[in-house]
Symmetry: C2
């Protein structure tokens, strides 16, 4: 069987499974999820054995230390998978929610009801714990999943998926075998084949580095929901509480710099820059944050600050996601210039204004074209858990489909139930 046929068969099985999944009750789904959790928990040794195979091959092929760390399934990560599955079971069913109801003059009742999307392809790097997380969220939302993890994690991913499917089938005869599938070939062409099947695959969600996501988006014929990167901003307004602004900026940069909702660029209104910047720079320097600044900011940082590392920002720097203890700083002339900078250089992820003035905040909230726009809070809150979604499958900066953190509800579409008593059109 060639690759095209192989992917077609995989997708057809998923489509058939998706039809079946849309008829499962919440109780049936939760029973399956509990059984999956039990099976992972009971087979930790088998999972570790599969993971050992992956780890050995990866070490031999010279995978880097941080990559090996991501690949590793230790006791803690396996337990986190088990806990994750149980948490998903405990979350409310996102399918069948009544989103809107309209009663038409002719007596027709229209109900907008949340429904599964169908077949979802998840593409991710060599983090095998994502297998259980992603598959369980898709399953709870009534979707069939096709999982394509990094090739280094293939044994681990297959072991996890097989345990989940077998356990769910034992728990409910209605669980379709094609509900969770792992792409078994390492061939990269498999992704292109799969994502050309517009009649069978409904959505693709790539997770990982910008390079992976751009490659997937470029080759896909099916809808893709993703974010490329998080170039998040904090804008300190002329009307800001400067103490609050300092706390927010420091938190947004330093608390966990490696994540997508961390700040990459700080914009300061010229009128408050002299009062604000030197103090913050001292704190940032003490936390080993390197600064890339424009001329005006550089001028304000003339006086010596211990440990300060300042260089001139290049035009490219304003577009960059450092994921590191590096921060761009620019001085802007007022709110409009701040907004223009963010809409030009930002990535549509998370951006914040610090101000006491509600009207100015409102202007910022409306004008910034990003998934999450903050007034007086750290950008670090853009996260499914922090948003109260219970779990997160990713963050979207797209504007068609889900936007912002994606939990269970964001893995559904809707359909219209039109309830009549014999209405015909005249």
């Amino acid at each position: 069987m060639d690759l095209t046929e192989q992917m077609m068969q995989l997708a057809r099985r998923a489509k058939t499974a998706a039809r079946q999944l849309s008829t499962l009750t919440s109780d049936e789904k939760n029973l399956c999820l509990e059984a999956m959790a039990g099976a992972i928990d009971d087979n930790r040794d088998a999972i570790r054995k599969a993971n050992d195979l992956d780890m050995a091959a990866a070490a031999q092929s010279g995978l880097s230390g941080p990559m090996l760390d991501r690949l590793k399934l230790d006791e803690k990560r396996i337990k986190a998978m088990v806990r994750g599955l149980r948490e998903v079971a405990a979350l409310p069913d996102p399918v069948g929610r009544l989103l809107e109801e309209r009663n038409r003059p002719n007596g027709l009742k229209l109900c907008k009801i949340s429904a599964p999307i169908g077949v979802v392809v998840i593409i991710y790097e060599s983090r095998p714990n994502v297998t259980a997380d992603a598959a369980s969220l898709c399953f709870k939302s009534g979707n069939a999943t096709i999982l394509r993890g990094g090739k280094e994690a293939l044994h681990s991913n297959q072991a996890i998926a097989r345990l989940m499917v077998d356990a769910a089938r034992r728990a409910s005869p209605k669980f379709p075998a094609g509900a969770v599938q792992v792409v078994s070939t390492p061939d990269r062409e498999a992704i292109r084949e799969l994502l050309s099947l517009t009649e069978l695959v409904d959505l693709c969600m790539p997770r990982g580095g910008e390079g992976l996501i751009r490659a997937v988006t470029e080759c896909s014929r099916v809808p893709v929901i993703k974010h490329y990167k998080g170039v998040c901003h904090v804008y300190v307004d002329s009307e800001a509480d400067l103490e609050m602004a300092g706390e927010i900026a420091f938190n947004a940069k330093v608390q966990r710099p490696a994540v997508c909702n961390a700040m990459e660029t700080l914009l300061i209104d010229r009128s408050v820059a002299a009062d604000f910047l030197p103090g913050l720079a001292r704190r940032l320097a003490a936390s080993h944050v390197a600064l890339r600044v424009d001329a005006a900011a550089k001028d304000l940082l003339k006086d010596p600050i211990e440990g300060l590392n300042v260089t001139d920002a290049t035009e490219e720097d304003w577009y960059r996601e450092y994921n590191d203890l590096i921060l761009n700083i620019a001085i802007v002339d007022g709110l409009d210039q701040g907004i223009a900078h963010i809409n030009e250089y930002g990535s549509g992820h998370s951006d914040c204004i610090v101000t006491r003035d509600e009207a100015r905040a409102q202007r910022f909230l409306n004008a910034i074209d990003s998934a999450a726009v903050y007034w007086n809070a750290s950008t670090r809150f853009t996260d499914g858990g922090e948003f109260g979604m219970g779990a997160e499958i990713g963050i979207s900066t797209d504007k068609v489909g889900a936007r912002g953190p994606m939990g269970l509800e964001e893995l559904t579409t809707y359909k219209w139930h039109c309830l009549g008593t014999g209405q015909i059109r005249t």
Copy 2:
């Protein structure tokens, strides 16, 4: 300037305009729409003159009669455009609606707010009245529009768009010139260029025949919302009120067969087929509906019926959208087979069950993977007006983004306003 640069410039202007549009108030937008309506109304002669140029060229190039009819802008169609613009002005603003509110334990208030999508490309055939309809709906929802109509309608489309833009600019200095633009080149490559600009174009909506829509979808790198065709079904259940079933089936096929929400295939449960089919067939024959049937239905139509035109349905027929007085009929063994047929051959548009049994209806509503699923009503109601949306820009059978009839609200996305009092993440 080459085509690539030309399209890039068009899209950049649209992006700049979109940023500006997101800051317009409802009053400002409505003022512009009223001014547009007035300008179209006051310049009917100029529009007809532009249309005459298109009509003359089209007649000379041998365009067919029905195509010429679509291209023509007579007094009635121009007045309908004017009325349409005023109706859009009167509709509620779809931007800024509070869709959801969450108060987090840390005091952060999360508001899910509807927002414009951004830059929307509308591709359509040579119906110049679509220019005003589509542009006004996109504008009211805060989006910048790039219009690409059939090349035969270029003079008409440009005249209409120019009148709209000039009038709106006079009405409000905040109306950006790039808010409504017409692609001025007839080069088909322009579409591919435009739809490769993923950083500037947010959405493409093709409207027209299946061929056009498939070609657009195939070449687009930006999200596309569309429906290819409407292969709509009515399933007559064993528990159906057969009189009601007859009325619904007749209406769904005959009332306006050329539209996408008309029925193409009738499925009848075997247990009621003998009672139901011959009577309906007589009525359909009297209305000149040709039938394409399976063996079991053929058998039930052995007895002579005046004017009846019956042929054997081929496998391909079940996938076909006739848009004509032709109807497929199959006899199925129960609800599950009916559901399976619809999910296999249907187009995910509009499908109906006729039954008295609520549990069976519910099974159908949940299992059918279509945008609109009917219980005891004609499929002909899938329409923005009938759904109470006030206006319709299209119908979607997609599952990422809007699904079903698309009015103003369906032309928006959402974003999260996160309102804090200094919250930082710990």
